[in-house]
């Protein structure tokens, strides 16, 4: 290592020698950086999983424009939308189809456990509104009281999920209706429920007797090929009589919900703070290590000053130390965080994973944060006065 650093810096790797001279302290410093890395990784992992979980339900459907109630900041939030606005919107020459999307929560009693399933009701006679993974189930959903369930639902054993096939369906009663599950799809637990379920709009209305077919949660629209959903949305805002409605492109609706979940909902804000706190912890740990190191070697640095070494040399030593701590601290931090994220994903069924982007982001952030701490720590070098050596 010292040969590599000597070749890299073109001088004796004094930072490396200083750090490794006390192996116990070096190990403690690396543990501190690794700990900060784990904090950031875990928080980022949860944040990213929240993003994935937020966007996942949007992938179940295909639409160009979504009409929602004014208070619908998320798919599962807000009031209903009158179906009449769908017909009004379809008067636009570039709107070619429309359908209502119903959303509710169903409790699946399984033995002593209850699974909370976020349930979506759509018209299976219009498969153009189903996402690629859902379209093959359109005919199944047309069966009375039929549904397909998320095989990754939290609390649903894999062997039970695997057994749910068209030839061996599983039934349960909800709201006095006998619901039959004919197949499964890959959803994944979210933050709002244990999993997802897809049914037809008619089955949905049977499951939720209080809901009316004329008042879905959202209206999905398809537009003509080549038409711009943003332009058509703007036109529909003028066309539709209820000016309080949110008429957005489907992509914009998904992104707006993501921003809302990350910046307005307490969970998103908490995880965001977690990342910041992780970075601050790392900064403080590295600053503490480096500034203590500078203070302990003040007389040696003063000697080097007397010998004719300039400020750049001292800065390079401290930055060398910062880089070593950042790089070597990252490795155990990455390994431990990876294991933790795998464990968390298994325990929660949330889409938590270590991504390449996350690893690069945290590594670069660690090196930058360590360098920043190092740069701040060099302020103490001013106190190294060679005149005090005599």
């Amino acid at each position: 290592m010292s040969r590599f650093l000597q070749a890299l810096f073109g001088r004796l790797p004094i930072g490396w020698f200083q750090l490794t001279h006390s192996r116990t302290r070096f190990a403690a410093a690396l543990s501190g950086v690794a700990f900060a890395n784990v904090l950031v990784f875990v928080q980022l992992g949860i944040m990213l999983s929240m993003a994935t979980a937020t966007l996942k339900p949007y992938s179940f459907f295909q639409a160009d424009i979504m009409i929602s109630a004014t208070d619908a900041n998320a798919l599962t939030e807000g009031g209903n939308v009158a179906r009449q606005w769908m017909f009004q919107a379809m008067a636009d020459p570039e709107v070619v189809a429309g359908t209502g999307l119903f959303i509710g929560n169903i409790a699946w009693q399984r033995g002593g456990k209850t699974l909370g399933l976020t349930t979506y009701g759509v018209d299976p006679a219009q498969p153009a509104f189903l996402g690629a993974a859902m379209a093959p189930y359109a005919r199944t959903l047309q069966l009375p009281n039929a549904g397909i369930v998320d095989r990754f639902s939290r609390g649903l054993p894999q062997e039970i999920a695997a057994a749910i096939r068209p030839q061996s369906p599983s039934s349960f009663e909800a709201s006095g209706t006998q619901l039959t599950l004919y197949d499964t799809f890959a959803g994944g637990g979210g933050f709002g429920g244990d999993g997802y379920m897809l049914v037809s709009d008619q089955t949905f209305l049977a499951l939720f007797p209080a809901r009316r077919s004329g008042a879905p949660d959202h209206i999905l629209l398809r537009i003509a090929a080549g038409a711009d959903p943003v332009v058509v949305s703007a036109r529909l805002r003028d066309l539709v009589s209820d000016k309080s409605l949110r008429i957005r492109s489907y992509g914009d609706a998904a992104q707006e919900e993501l921003t809302y979940q990350q910046t307005k909902r307490p969970t998103g804000i908490i995880f965001g703070f977690g990342v910041i706190i992780g970075i601050l912890v790392g900064l403080v740990i590295v600053y503490q290590v480096l500034s203590t190191d500078v203070a302990e070697h003040l007389s040696e640095y003063a000697t080097f000053k007397a010998m004719g070494y300039g400020q750049g040399f001292f800065l390079s030593i401290v930055l060398e130390e910062a880089l070593i701590l950042g790089v070597l601290g990252f490795i155990p931090g990455f390994a431990v965080a990876n294991l933790l994220l795998i464990g968390m994903a298994k325990a929660t069924t949330l889409p938590i994973e270590m991504t390449f982007g996350m690893a690069v982001y945290v590594f670069v952030g660690t090196v930058v944060a360590c360098s920043l701490s190092g740069a701040i720590a060099t302020r103490r070098l001013v106190a190294a006065d060679p005149a005090d050596l005599f």
Partner: protein, 230 residues
Amino acid sequence: MGDDHALDIADLNHWFGAGEAQKQALFDIDLEIDRGSLTVLVGPSGSGKTTLLTLVGCLREVQEGSVMLLGHQLHVAKPAQQIALRRRLGFIFQAHNLHGSLTALQNVLMGLQVHGATDQDTQMSAARHMLTLLGLGDRIDYFPANLSGGQKQRVAVARALVGNPDIVFADEPTAALDRESGMTVVKMLKQLGQVRGTTTVMVTHDNRILEMADRIITLEDGRIVNDTSK
């Protein structure tokens, strides 16, 4: 100043503190030191020897008067020029000030690397040679914590001399050394003066060195009270 002077000091005054607490440490020092000479500063504690050493060694700012070091006026020298000048000096401190995380060899290498990039093998060989000359050939990979006081001091001497400095400033360099090691160091300094023209300015109370000095300057209360050349 003539070319035969390594150091030319005129009307040098220096104070410590400010306001009513201000105390003058040096008074009207006038001094020329020839190249290649071995000059010893003596005097009681607090007489200004160390202050003078730090001023002419470019480690402290000149307040009043003139100090010409190797042809450069110090009070107008910019920081970069001061750094460049320091690279032409060698310092031997009473408290050796070795870097605790570096081996004896690495400490000596620091005295070479300050001059910039040269062949590493050449630097290593020069550092080893210097340590061997000072009787530390079998201690090159030892950390300072594992060396005796005398051995540490010899490493410090090797570090100061390995870069072939124009002037060596030394503060009690033989205090921690036994008679034989002390004489080796002083003879080496004397020889460097004769062969390379290296100038040595040394603060010492060691009578053995006084006998070998070319010039002995006595300071008392910040003033030169005696200046004897041999």
